[in-house]
Structures are given as C-alpha cells and as structure tokens.
Symmetry: C2
Subunit: 253 residues, 2 copies
Amino acid sequence: MLVPMIDPPARPRAASPAAPAVPASQTPQLAAFARGDDTRSALIRAGIDLFGRNGFDGASTREIARAAGVNIAGIAYHFGGKSGLHLACGEAIAGFVAETIGLLPVPETVVAGLDAEAATEAFVAAVNALGRFMLGRAEAESVARFMVREQMDPSATFAALYETLIRPRHEIMCRLFARATGEDPTSEAVIIAVSALFGQIMFFRVGRATALARLGWEVIDPPRLDAILAVVTANIRAAIATRRAALSGETRS
Amino acid sequence: MLVPMIDPPARPRAASPAAPAVPASQTPQLAAFARGDDTRSALIRAGIDLFGRNGFDGASTREIARAAGVNIAGIAYHFGGKSGLHLACGEAIAGFVAETIGLLPVPETVVAGLDAEAATEAFVAAVNALGRFMLGRAEAESVARFMVREQMDPSATFAALYETLIRPRHEIMCRLFARATGEDPTSEAVIIAVSALFGQIMFFRVGRATALARLGWEVIDPPRLDAILAVVTANIRAAIATRRAALSGETRS
DNA sequence: GTCTATAAACAGATAGAC
DNA sequence: GTCTATCTGTTTATAGAC
C-alpha cells in the first residue's frame, strides 16, 4: 500500500527539536540560485523551501531563520518583514527558472518560420525541458513546491511570478502548439489545450503522493522520469497529430 | 444511496472571514455532505472549506468555529482536537465523493466484458464526470481544494482518503484504459498514462490562477467547463487511439 | 452538550547594544 | 549588519460553570 506519510501522528509544526547541524546555506540542492553565503541569500533559500513546504502562514520566521543559520531579526532588516521575504523568494525563483530552462527569447518571427513538424518538435522539447526541471532536478523541488502553492493561493508574489515567468513562457508554448496544428495561437482552444497538456506534467508534482503510491515507487529517479516523459510525449504527439488532421479535414470540407 | 443533487444556483464564494451574517451550516453549497445542522456537521463543513483554503496550519480553530457558528471548545469535545477534526473532514469527503461521482462498483468482470470502443467511452465518461465534479460543482470546490492540499502535503488524513477513495477509482480507470488500448492494467505505462491524462483536469484546479489569467476569465462557468472538457476529451481519444494503433503494429511485427 | 475564562506556548515585529 | 531581549497579539487546549 505504500502510502507516503510525512508525519503520521500529528503535524510536525514545531519541527526539529535539535538545531540543524548544517545550515541551509550549505545544502547543495539550493546552491544554484540565490548564490552567495550571505544572510540575504541564505534567507531566500530557506524561505523558498519552507514557504513552499508549509505555506506562508505555516512557515514561521523563526523556523526560516533557524534553517538559514541566521538571526531572526535579519528578516526585518533585509526584507522589511515576512511578506518582503516572500516576495523576494518569488523574484529569485523567476530569475533561477529563466536561467535554467532557457526557451526565452523565441521571437514571433522565429516561430512563424517553423513548419508543423519543427514546431511539434520544439513544443515537445519545451515540455520535456519543463518536465525534467519540475520533476527531476533536486534543487528545483523546493522551487516547484513554492510555485504550485502560489498557484493555488495566489498572493502578491504570484503577480510577479506570472508576469515575468509564467505568462511569457505559456505564450511561447501556445505559439509553438498553434504552429504545429495550424490554429490561432491566441484562441481559447489552443490556450486550453496547452494548459491541459502541461497538466500531465503537473500531476506528478502535485499528485505525487498518489502517483508514487499507485506505482509502488518511493522516489522518481532518472529512468522513472524518462518513463513518465515518454508517456507524456506520446500523448502530446497524438493530440497534435489528431488535432491537425481534424482541422485540415474541416477546412477541406 | 444516491442522493439527488440539485444543480447549484451560481453563487459567489463562501462566507467571508469577517462577521458572517449567515453561519456556514446554512450555506446550501455544502449542504449535501456532513448533513445535519448539529455542531459536529457544521464543524466538518467549515473545516473542509478552511483547511482546504488555508491549509492545516493556516486555518485556525477559532476561524473554523466562527464559520461554523459554534463554540471553539466544541472542536475538542467532538473530535479531540484540531487533528481529529482534520481526519473527520477527510472521512466525510470520501463518503461525499463516493456518493456523488458513483463509478463504483465496477467489477473486474464487467470491464473484461467491454470491447475497446465501449471501454474508451466508459473511460471518457468517467474523466468527464470527475472533471465536472472537480471544476464545475460549486459545492465541491472546497472538497477539491482540500484533496489537492492533502496530495501536496500528505498527512494521516491522506492515508484514509487514498485507501477509501483515490486508489479504488484510479484502479478502475486503469482497467478501463487498459481495456481500451489492449494493455496490462497493472503495467507502469498504463498507470502513468491514466495519471497524466487526469492531470489535464487537475491543471484547471491547481493552476487555476494561471489558466484564468491566460484566458481572460474570472470564473469557469458551464460553457467554459464544456470547452475545457471538450479539449481534454479529444486529447484522451487521441491518446487511446494512437496507443492502440502503436500496440497492434508492435504485435504484428 | 455547550458555554466562558484562562493557561501555556507561539507568532511577527522592533528597540537598542555592539 | 548582526545580535539579545522584549512587546503585543494569537494560537491550541483545557478547566469548570450551567
């Protein structure tokens, strides 16, 4: 039955009884963003992890400061308060993801120059890159958790994330998809289809507890990630091919 | 027992946090589960709403008791404490969803008697029913939020939800899908595919902020829900057809 | 069963020494 | 910039009246 249980008896809440031997500033999985070992960077790394894990209300400033190995008062000093730290975490994520996934900039003219097959390949490659980032990279796990939580319960931080990170990438995905199927990239159907196809990836992040339990897995290691992406890629190719065929049949009639 | 569910009159949000003139026990959208106007039921209704909205830590017992229109001490009296109320909310959800969506029981023998087309139709119908429940029904919005939150941060409550609700239904979906494509219903590929295809629905629940912003919508009303399900259904049919074709080609070679 | 009153622990923010 | 100490309000849980 393999039900992943983080904390069987009661919620951890007060968290670790003992002081962490290694401050978060030295954990390798977060070393790639918010670089530096100064107080500010350490707080952002710990904030992304704990805000993502426990939510804005569930993560206490004391907990974050302890994980970062710095003093609590540093949060007020560097960010003005808890909300300021949360916003700074969102901005750091936008920068980190932009650096890691790439994809941008892809000007309209470049997409327009692709034929349907090339656009399909570009779309598939983009979804795979996003999937490998969201599901595979250990240092991105906390980032993904933070972003999903902002999606479900948007704060002022979400607005910044949406404008600088989510919207530009979603628009490019829609342009590639529309080029592959021959549709209007701003049409409702294309935006819905791209969102739905991306949801396939998202399930293994948000519904990971269900996926792992059903598959009898404890983690998603590289070969398992390959298996997931193979299925998702096949579904995307099927959707695009079927959609293009239906559309060309429609215009022929 | 199947309870006739009247379609919800389109209505805004649940009780506002500040000074609710009407206690949650009288709001119609939650009246279908945790029936009764007693303290216990009112607390469960308010708990599902506020735990789902703010998380276990973010929802305070004071807030829940106020929304339920009952005294705070009733939580300790009826459920032993905050954790007990959380678990009771999960159990109430399992019962509610089971009554509403139906689908169970579908014995193995019934699935085995379906041909590929009938299995495809049954699978599509099941995903649509789930989608209409998760995205369309106003009284299920709080239920869906609660379940997604448990997925992301599983507690003891998740174990109960998984065993009594999620796993049985996921298994049936896998049997239907496998029957439609000619695969083994317990194979890794089938479990992954069913999970990924369901993720298409989940995106519009979890990533609703992104979806609404990209589509310029403020809510998902019935025609918009139809548009979403039409796209998702088309993707599912394409995936099944392509998969079945690939498999038969494989066995032929 | 439901209420008031309160206990004990925790939250975020800040003043001021260094 | 970083620290200690503390203020003020809120949290869950409980004791005891009715």
